[in-house]
């Protein structure tokens, strides 16, 4: 019995099915592949209160094959899920620009949910000289 559970764990590791506490609430444990998603953010931000962000996903955006949603996930912000953008074939292009808040230097992940149910991700690392939520750090 013990040997069987050991095998299950081993198989899980081999197929990269490790739990990711940041992405699991969105993916419900579904596998996430690297690629197709490009997240563009500055390498260095003087101020975490407003950091430019552009995310684009490679997709034909047709009825049969489109991006259903793009989620922005932060490693360090008090609220990990920064935003979720819901699109569809009517969007024509899966590209979104906005400005985000960052509570310190971190890696930001953009997770794309496709119409076939698959998940793809891209990330960007930003060094923040002066973070947002400074009050929180002091109190």
């Amino acid at each position: 019995m013990r040997r069987r559970s050991f095998l299950v764990v081993l198989l899980g590791l081999a197929f990269g099915a490790r739990a990711d506490p940041l992405l699991d609430p969105i993916t419900k444990g579904a596998p996430v592949r690297q690629g197709r998603v490009k997240l563009e953010m500055p390498l260095l931000a003087d101020n975490g209160n407003s950091v430019a962000m552009k995310v684009s996903v490679e997709s034909p955006m047709t009825e049969a094959d489109h991006v259903r949603a793009i989620h922005l996930v932060s490693e360090r912000n008090p609220e990990a899920r920064m935003a979720s953008f819901h699109l569809g074939p009517r969007a024509g292009a899966a590209e979104i620009i906005s400005r985000v808040r960052l509570a310190g230097s971190q890696r930001v992940v953009a997770l794309a949910e496709m119409s076939d149910g698959s998940f793809w991700m891209g990330s960007a690392s930003v060094v923040v000289t002066l973070s947002a939520c400074v009050d929180e750090m002091l109190s």
């Binding site: 209160n49 407003s50 899920r81 920064m82 935003a83 979720s84 953008f85 009517r90 969007a91």
Partner: protein, 105 residues
């Protein structure tokens, strides 16, 4: 809540157009303190939607992770002449809306 919209007034049928909106809103994180030490309650625009002639083409759920005076730029396919309607609601229950006409042909 005032908003500024970027939308081409005229487009060809089937063209992918860029839609931008800037909404005036503090997007309070809930961590900022008043001078007397009280916390400023959290108040952010939670949901935003864009409808094109009544059909939803874009929706966003936001958090304090989006900067104050949120700016959003997305795309949509110009199908027919008509109107794009933007609507949003914040944690305090205040809602706002804006609309902009588009001519397709």
């Amino acid at each position: 809540m005032a908003a500024r919209i970027q939308l081409p007034g005229r487009a060809r049928r089937g063209e992918v157009i860029r839609v931008g909106i800037l909404i005036q809103h503090p997007m309070e994180t809930g961590y900022r303190l008043e001078v007397d030490g009280r916390k400023v309650p959290k108040n952010v625009i939670r949901s935003f939607a864009c409808r094109y002639n009544g059909v939803e083409v874009f929706r966003a759920e936001m958090s304090p992770g989006i900067a104050a005076n949120p700016f959003l730029q997305f795309h949509t396919v110009a199908l027919d002449s008509g109107e794009l309607e933007f609507s949003w609601v914040d944690d305090a229950g205040a809602s706002g809306s804006a609309r902009e006409a588009i001519t397709v042909g």
